[in-house]
Symmetry: none
Subunit: 152 residues, 2 copies
Amino acid sequence: MDTVTRIAQEGTFLSDSHTGVPVASVSVAEVPEGGHSPCACKTVTEILSRVGDKWSMQVVMSLAGGTLRFNELRRAIDGISQRMLTRTLRGLERDGLVERTVTPSVPPRVDYALTALGRSLRQPVAELGQWALQNREMIVTARERFDAEDDS
Amino acid sequence: MDTVTRIAQEGTFLSDSHTGVPVASVSVAEVPEGGHSPCACKTVTEILSRVGDKWSMQVVMSLAGGTLRFNELRRAIDGISQRMLTRTLRGLERDGLVERTVTPSVPPRVDYALTALGRSLRQPVAELGQWALQNREMIVTARERFDAEDDS
DNA sequence: CGGCATCCGAATGGATACTG
DNA sequence: CAGTATCCATTCGGATGCCG
């Protein structure tokens, strides 16, 4: 078993064994060797933080239905400011998740669409979204109980 | 600061000063029903931000293998400070993802373990982790290309 | 051992105004 | 229409010191 697989399955990120997850083979590129690479873990954390930022996934999900223009996106995502939409789109473009197409007309037209990489992200994010929806009641309840104890 | 004030201000997951405990955000529910509720989206976004914060998922995955004590966790997660580990654990405990068990001995012993809810989160998060690992090369490459164009 | 309190720089993100 | 630029409040997160 290579290092990356091990990390994915049970390394730092998935902790030790007995999670019940069978080891599957994953095609891998290179691994720096030296057992468990902190670099991989760092990368994963970094990518997770992009997923977790306030607007990125809302943009991705808004673009899941197809290409949208800047202001279409802005209207589709409630509460986002122009500044944050710009910044978020730049970040997604930089990571290769979104493609930006400029049509130099008057007025200018800029279209945003998911790349193949961006589309591949929809699935895992949607599953996390499912989890969130299915468990939000439990979480809210847990919070209330916790805060109640805290007050006393 | 009292809980009422904290809740009123509606923060993110890990907020409040010092060792403050995460602040509530999900307002009382009520889904207008019909396709796409802004509330649901808000909840999902909020939970994604918990997933995306710097340490929460590393803690969850470290606990995937079983109960750990405070300093065991600290050693398991490279680079985490004591303060952030405490804050992260409080946040996870508040959300009902982690259970904290205190054994009043000398020296004190505190065990942390995933709850059923916390365990149910492992799967979707692990899938996102898989995605991150499998695509990190592409992302890094995309970033380099983007930054290179930017320079010119 | 397992915290909490304090200080502080860095990053996030909203509001507003201006531009090609 | 699709941005930039500026300012500003809030929050994140590390370092350090103290405590039961």
